[in-house]
């Protein structure tokens, strides 16, 4: 067991995967010699050579498209999109190709590939370094979508994603790279090395895709969250003194509906939180699913707390970000409702 930041955990997962399976190749912009702008691949080129870990031209469609070809050949590409905001040029390759290949060829060709991308805001990155595009992936049949909230899960989920025979979108909440951020941007962040969730086994292990985790047990209200929002919800629950059950979804697709249903049936109330813009965000799907499956257990309307339907602003970042105050309001609303 070692204390790792999320970055170190991700790097370690790459390392173990490359060590274990020669088919794993890693590439992306600035990923090779330099080791990635967030350093998630640092040291890999040196250890495994430039044919296993290398820089790519600045062309996201090319990165994913070449990855699909490699996966069709039988390798296991793990590619980095420098920021999730830059995945759009690759969207056609992801949606029309990676996601469809197995189905349209009836399994003649497959696409075992991981597409990693730092996601989310809270770093004064402005509208093109802050986005959370998960709903644009969950709508696409054929993709799995994962977002870890701590180093231990980041490593185990990434290894599971690399093992997975299908394309996996791996969203890394960059605000959590160095420590759990609870939304109080005016307070110092606890680094992972001082946090128990920074305890990561150095061995190879996987955290299964499709399984949520109860981040905080409670009886009064179910909170569905993922990534950074898990900690913001925790802070809000502590501060409001609400006995909230907070579920860290970890995998958005396939979704752990059992865990969700079980909790909502117990609490009768539900809050859905994400950083992405509200309309057609993944929270809409969660809300729809919960009301379809737990309608007769619901004692109040499900409340969504999300980013606003605006681009992610630079200076007004903390107005956009769904922080603890907004979640506390939602507690009031859903508990009184």
């Amino acid at each position: 067991m070692a204390r790792m930041t999320m970055i170190e955990a991700i790097r370690n997962a790459h390392d173990l995967a490359m060590e274990r399976d020669k088919r794993v190749v890693v590439f992306g912009e600035d990923v090779g010699y330099f080791g990635g702008v967030f350093r998630c691949t640092a040291g890999l080129q040196k250890k495994y050579g430039p044919h296993r870990c290398f820089d790519a031209p600045i062309n996201e469609s090319g990165i994913v498209g070449a990855g699909i070809g490699m996966a069709a050949y039988g390798l296991k590409p793990v590619v980095e999109i420098q920021f999730a905001d830059y995945m759009y040029p690759a969207y056609d390759q992801i949606v029309s190709e990676a996601a469809r290949l197995r189905h349209r060829s009836a399994g003649d060709f497959t696409c075992s590939m991981v597409i990693r991308m730092p996601t989310g805001g809270g770093i004064f990155g402005g509208q093109t370094h802050s986005q959370s595009p998960e709903a644009l992936f969950t709508h696409v049949s054929g993709l799995k979508v994962v977002m870890p909230a701590n180093p231990r899960d980041a490593k185990g989920l990434l290894l599971a994603a690399i093992e997975d025979p299908d394309p996996v979108i791996f969203l890394e909440p960059k605000r959590l790279y160095n420590g759990p951020f609870d939304g109080h941007h005016d307070r110092p962040v606890v680094p992972w090395k001082n946090h128990e969730l920074g305890d990561v086994s150095e061995d190879y292990y996987t955290v299964p895709l499709g399984k949520a985790e109860i981040a905080r047990a409670g009886e009064a209200v179910t909170v569905l969250a993922y990534g950074t929002m898990v900690y913001v919800a925790q802070a809000a629950a502590e501060e409001a003194g609400v006995d909230a059950e907070i579920i860290d979804l970890r995998t958005l697709l396939p979704l752990d509906l059992d865990a969700i249903e079980q909790s909502v049936r117990k609490t009768g109330r539900c809050i859905v939180i994400h950083e992405a813009t509200k309309t057609s965000g993944f929270g809409a799907e969660l809300s729809a699913l919960v009301q379809e499956r737990c309608f007769y257990h619901l004692e109040a309307p499900i409340v969504r707390v999300t980013g606003w339907d605006t681009p992610y602003p630079h200076a007004q970042e903390w107005t956009y970000f769904p922080g603890p105050e907004r979640i506390k309001q939602a507690f009031t609303q859903v508990l009184e409702g």
Partner: protein, 410 residues
């Protein structure tokens, strides 16, 4: 300074529209045998001339001439002729089947049979093509069962793609034929990725990418050029310039004013234009490019100059946008006629043998069709099970899809 004149938008127009007389006189075609054959090791910057000419082997007299001649013996040429004739016959039957409602859609290869058929013979087993919908010749020449192709076209119970794909969007991994995508251009960079993977794995297999003239405009064409040249991927980048992209002529993709082959130059990729209706020339150029790739010299770009003699697909009527006489005016002729003529010229074929071969082919295709139709067509007989529609979205079916399948009643 003088007052600048008002600007105007230049919108390219083809030389010839319905009612006009086709005129290909500004299409410069070198004599067969006239174009040099560079060594595969020659530096890309020393062979830029190859992108502005047209490699041709068969001359008007039906002889094979020049430095590109001689890559195939008579037996191989007769096979090639049979492949092309088979493909044409296949097209004819399937067009008819579509008109009879037995399937929804079809894309024919008329006039450009030499390109895929000859190219296929320059590859080795294990190499991988990333084709468009108009490279059925790769399957025919590669010995893929025609019945299987038809099963796919009919979306019947034996369809290897289980009814999921539009007709002609074949997939045949074991025959070096990647799953055809409905989205243009995407597969061009995938081919490069496959080739990179082969290089990463210290394999000896190479990839071939395919794209149409119109689709070179797509952005992923660029991705392929950047990646292929940067990593020296062992890939052959094929552009099939059949002059048209549905109703849009090659000038709208900036063809004509400059060659498509010349796109390679900005990346230091050697590029060759070839007479796409000359079976021997296509084969020779393909072999050259395959040798480059397999020797670790990296990618080559081939522009196959040909003509789409038929409609774009069964949904298209070309008489609305081009002259009906264009194909007869097309200066590179018909690939089947030209190879036939050559074989007769060298005494390896005859009109009688041709007639007999044609009859055999008609028979073979007909019986393949009978066999396929025994498995059903889109409108009658057996069909792939709707239940199977939920398979293969993922390797393992997740709970929500299992639930949906149940809801759908399967």
């Amino acid at each position: 300074m003088t007052e600048p004149r008002p600007l105007a938008l230049h919108v390219p127009e083809p030389g010839c529209r319905p009612g006009d007389t086709p005129d290909f006189s500004d299409f410069e075609i070198p004599r067969a045998g006239a174009v040099r054959r560079p060594e595969v090791e020659e530096a890309p910057e020393d062979m830029r001339d190859m992108a502005f000419s047209v490699v041709r082997v068969l001359n008007k007299a039906g002889e094979a001439v020049g430095p590109w001649a001689g890559t195939l013996d008579a037996e191989a040429l007769r096979n090639g002729l049979r492949h092309m004739m088979t493909l044409r016959q296949f097209d004819e039957r399937m067009l008819k089947a579509q008109r009879q409602g037995k399937t929804s859609f079809y894309v024919q290869n008329l006039g450009e049979e030499a390109v895929a058929c000859a190219f296929r013979m320059a590859l080795e087993d294990g190499d991988m093509n990333f084709p468009t919908y108009r490279q059925a010749g790769l399957l025919i020449a590669g010995g893929y069962p025609m019945t299987q192709m038809m099963n796919q076209i009919y979306s019947n119970s034996a369809d290897p793609l289980k009814g999921r794909q539009l007709p002609v969007m074949y997939s045949a991994r074991d025959h070096g034929f990647f799953s055809v995508s409905g989205n243009l251009g995407t597969q061009f960079i995938q081919a490069v990725g496959w080739a990179m993977a082969s290089a990463i794995s210290h394999d000896t297999r190479i990839a071939a990418a395919w794209i149409g003239d119109g689709s070179t405009s797509e952005n992923d064409f660029h991705a392929a050029m950047v990646f292929a040249s940067t990593y020296k991927a062992p890939v052959i980048l094929n552009i099939v310039n059949n002059q048209w992209a549905i109703s849009t002529f090659q000038g709208m993709a900036r063809g004509g004013a400059v060659t498509f082959a010349a796109r390679g130059h900005g990346f230091g990729i050697p590029a060759i234009r070839v007479d796409g209706n000359d079976y021997l020339a296509v084969h020779a150029v393909a072999k050259w490019a395959a040798e480059r790739a397999r020797s670790g010299l990296g990618p080559s770009l081939i522009e196959h100059v040909t003509y789409r003699a038929g409609g774009h697909s069964t949904s298209d009527d070309p008489s609305a946008y081009r002259s009906k006489d264009e194909f007869s005016a097309w200066p590179l002729g018909d690939p089947i006629d030209r190879l036939k003529r050559h074989l007769i010229t060298i005494g390896e074929w005859s009109e009688d043998r041709h007639t007999q071969a044609q009859a055999e082919i008609v028979d073979t295709v007909r019986s393949a069709q009978r066999e396929a139709e025994a498995n059903g067509t889109l409108i009658s007989g057996d069909k792939p099970s709707p239940r199977s529609m939920f398979d293969d979205v993922f390797a393992e079916m997740p709970p929500h899809l299992r639930e949906q399948r149940q809801e759908a009643g399967y």
